[in-house]
Symmetry: C2
Subunit: 213 residues, 2 copies
DNA sequence: ACCTGAACACCGTTCAAGT
DNA sequence: ACCTGAACACCGTTCAAGT
């Protein structure tokens, strides 16, 4: 969308690095084309117009940069402080989904498979648990319900970011007419796998799970 | 567990490669130590006592090898043909969990984030969908319930393989007493995060979700 | 048919050095 | 304080060659 960095400015003094600039460029790069697998310190540096080693002045390692991205993304989530428990859980669930759709490669590839044990991640978990606490549940009951809900949420978002919806699959899947012949029930689900149905599916699944709690 | 390959046999003619031997060694290597990130064609070849390029005689690329591992692992799952729908879903859910615990790095890192669109993967999906079909549901209703259940299952297994249970987290998480002070509800859940509780949590969550359907 | 050696274009990271 | 160049130990993969 912009043939800017590597080409133009030769004499204009280069905009200095900053964690803000690095992190925004990283998040943008991760969501482009080949996603997380194609993300590298060297590719990021190239995009920023610096040498790869410059990044080590700002983050001691690639993992530290990734953790900064995690905090930046997860830190944008909040849990409403008022409303019924179900309303509050519904709100943060939908907000998490919006976030995942905004950063599918990063959320699916890094956020979901990682423990939320940064200060920012723990603060989010604490706010979520407060909903269950406010509903009058003790630790054992809260743990059960919290985890069941989270498992549905993680699975649904994994599916929309890395799974059947857009994620990688086999290199040479069977052709469609073979699928129709050998796996008729799978084939019959085809229409419901379209992105147009995802939001409705997510909301219906969420209500079913909240009901089951 | 065995100082065998790289050391001893110099004069004994090396056991020839085979896809069986390669795949078993790969699955074993993936579950060792540093997991999927440390897995490489070169490391696998080293372990097998051959050069990395030899693997290309058996699989055209690393991705093809991974897909073969996917089929080998996922192909071991089956859905009971008889029983009530809930019994059949419960059985395959528990079997999937056992499989995930036997291959946590591979299931969490490769199977769950990938589309089940190999012939083997599609056959499993078809068998799962047959349960919903046998329950008399039309395609729309089956799709809703199937996906909600799968989302819970994927999320739960992701958590047990790559998430809070054993997966990677921030390099420098806040120390425990800081957590206890700032995030008391999170800290109160500590005891329930122990592996001893995982099976009970999984079963309880599964029943809640099946009830919600 | 099965395996190898050399080479190419990549990685993350360290270290000493430049401004 | 901020950035760089050269180097090290890795990657996956191609290609021509060995047996």
């Amino acid at each position: 969308m912009a043939p800017r960095e590597g080409r133009s400015s030769r004499k204009t003094p280069r905009e200095p690095l900053s964690s803000e600039r690095i992190e925004l460029a990283a998040l943008k790069l991760i969501e482009q084309q080949e996603g997380l697998p194609a993300f590298s310190q060297r590719a990021l540096a190239r995009r920023l117009g610096v040498e790869a080693m410059s990044l080590y002045h700002w983050y001691p390692s690639q993992l530290d940069l990734m953790n900064a991205l995690f905090d930046r993304v997860v830190g944008s989530l909040g849990v409403p402080a008022s409303g019924t428990p179900v309303e509050r859980l519904r709100a943060v669930s939908l907000a998490f989904r919006e976030l995942a759709l905004r950063h599918p490669a990063f959320v699916g590839g890094f956020v979901l498979p990682h423990r939320f044990n940064t200060a920012v991640g723990l603060a989010l978990l604490e706010a979520m648990l407060r909903v269950f606490h406010d509903a009058g549940l003790d630790a054992a009951a809260a743990s059960r319900r919290f985890r069941t809900w989270m498992h549905f949420l993680m699975g649904a978002l994994l599916d929309e970011t890395s799974g059947y919806a857009r994620g990688p699959g086999a290199g040479a899947p069977p052709p469609d007419d073979d699928v129709a012949r050998q796996f008729p029930l799978v084939a019959a689900l085809g229409p419901y796998n379209k992105p147009a149905h995802h939001e409705a599916q997510f909301k219906a699944g969420l209500e079913a799970v909240l009901r089951g709690l």
